[in-house]
Symmetry: C2
Subunit: 344 residues, 2 copies
């Protein structure tokens, strides 16, 4: 296997924008979607980056995403609001909700916005980062279609329900977490299939809901924590469902139509998100927070490593290192996506 | 081993109150502490219930907890505030912060209060529940002294940093999550020691920071996710540290003095908490939220079980069943605590 070809972000952005607009998306919605995809790709989150362009184009074409949505934001109290995304692309809705949460937090100290009637928004960390760039600690949650078993269950119930969070760091890149509440995403199962390798233990279940190491047989995922502690991963997934879907009025994961169904149309998913922004100035104070983050991160990065030469990392450290590399050398693109974007 | 003797909650409350007041606590602070301990014990969380009474008495006696603290709450914005707990008992501070978060949320839609200079507050679920009883979705976080390795680390760094959350349920008991971000708490290691049993794999490390199954050799814990996915548990612990300690101005876990040191005095820990309350009425709306929770929980509880006869549970279900049992038959008390409380 040769290394994938690398392309400058600007070139990929232009190619993605063109595909989305041709599929019927509004120029400005396409631009926001591209911004999110490129940011995810820059950070090395290829599973949620430009690779997904074909998926969004399919949804626009087949009706799983509305081409010309009319998003409606309503402030409901000094610190809260709700956004109806009108089944449009999830990315512009997620950026808008994040902006509104930050706006509310500037005045009220904290701001929270829920989103309903949204669709797949890519990588939540991208939006969390947007708030951190403006000086806010952020929490970004989204539910998704059923793919993960409950502890003690034998069918897909929760989505992979990622938790994203970011915190600003003075003179440094933000602390950045973006993690599924399953041990691995289903994309990883597909990777093991293509490599013809056995799965790690306690990450996936077969059609009958039994644990399997056979990637071909794997149908859905186990929650973080595996057989013994999966009740914790499942509870975290439930936390995400309640905060981002039940609170928002979106579909709870177990009744959400599948990603595959949404891709072939014509019915959009009703995905929910929640964005929360905290203003550090209204808690410990701006400067004390900055000093506190620096102290915490310095302690973490200098703490003794289990393996010599493999320093301990904070969430986001690897992503920022990858972004620096990709900003210099370009973003690697897999052959299927290259073809889809007419790059070769 | 005979079953521990059971006692009515009221009798235990009286005995605990008397011990705390004799140790110098203010009557009202003692009453709040007892309320939290009894609630944890009712719910079956014995590790954080009345069993801890001797620990709090030691701290009051030796200086790890200030006897007559002057708590200062300051509202900093329409939706936020901060509480300085003045090194008093953590429980009254946690109840007060929860009440203030709810009060702020009534007006602003969401409310968040951080607490600094606090001490060990017992079980976070108790406070989350307090907000849920008043109709609010709540998130309660606290950091703690170093006890859990980083992924790729070989020393204790984060605390067990529990995440607690509760959501109100119409005509039912609240959804209730209270989980450490390690696979097991250190108390569990002690239990395996006393039973002379090997530990489960990937939960604990020895003095040198190597994984061990030997409970006698275990010195600290691995994050949730074990060897392969411990980066997720460690990231969740970091999320709790940032939101509850850095944002609050409390000590980050790795520099917090140990529980044992606080118990022998004279220096209090500087623990941080964060309480967030969301008003469902300001998001999807009160009635829609209630219907949504009922739908979600019905789907969960009727979803197919892996093992016949072992129905799938929501977080809190087991705790509420235990509370019903204990309300009828009393709270079981271990012999050491019985003696400490002069019950035998």
């Amino acid at each position: 296997m040769t290394d994938p070809t690398r392309y400058p972000a600007a070139l990929l952005a232009e190619a993605c924008q063109s595909k989305l607009v041709t599929a019927g998306a509004l120029q400005e919605d396409a631009a926001e979607t591209v911004r999110a995809l490129i940011q995810a790709s820059r950070l090395g989150t290829d599973s949620h980056g430009v690779r997904l362009i074909g998926y969004y184009v399919d949804m626009l074409t087949n009706g799983g995403v509305r081409k010309r949505p009319v998003r409606r934001f309503e402030q409901t109290a000094p610190a809260t609001g709700r956004l109806d995304a009108d089944s449009g692309l999830g990315h512009p809705a997620a950026y808008q909700a994040t902006e509104e949460a930050v706006r509310l937090a500037r005045h009220a100290g904290i701001g929270a916005v829920t989103v309903r009637h949204s669709t797949h928004y890519g990588a939540g960390g991208v939006y969390a980062l947007e708030a951190a760039k403006q000086g806010f600690v952020s929490l970004v949650l989204s539910n998704s279609d059923p793919a993960v078993a409950l502890a003690g269950g034998r069918t897909p119930f929760h989505g992979t329900n990622p938790i994203a969070m970011s915190a600003p760091v003075r003179l440094g890149k933000p602390w950045l977490l973006d993690m599924a509440t399953s041990s691995i995403p289903f994309n990883r199962v597909k990777l093991y299939r293509s490599l013809d390798l056995p799965l790690p233990p306690e990450v996936a279940l077969n059609e009958e809901g039994h644990p399997t190491l056979d990637a071909e047989q794997a149908r859905f995922l186990q929650p973080l924590g595996g057989m013994a502690y999966g009740h914790k991963g499942a509870a975290l997934a439930g936390m995400v469902t309640i905060l981002s879907a039940v609170l928002a009025g979106a579909d709870p994961d177990p009744v959400m139509i599948s990603t595959a169904e949404a891709q072939s149309g014509p019915t959009p998913q009703n995905v929910g998100h929640t964005m929360v922004a905290f203003d550090p100035a209204r808690f410990v104070g701006q400067e004390a927070f900055e000093i506190g983050m620096e102290q915490y991160l310095a302690l973490l990065r200098t703490s003794p490593a289990a393996e010599q030469g493999v320093p301990v990392c904070a969430p986001g450290d690897k992503e920022w290192a990858e972004a620096a590399k990709r900003d210099e050398h370009g973003i690697p693109v897999d052959p299927d996506t290259e073809r889809f974007l007419d790059l070769r």
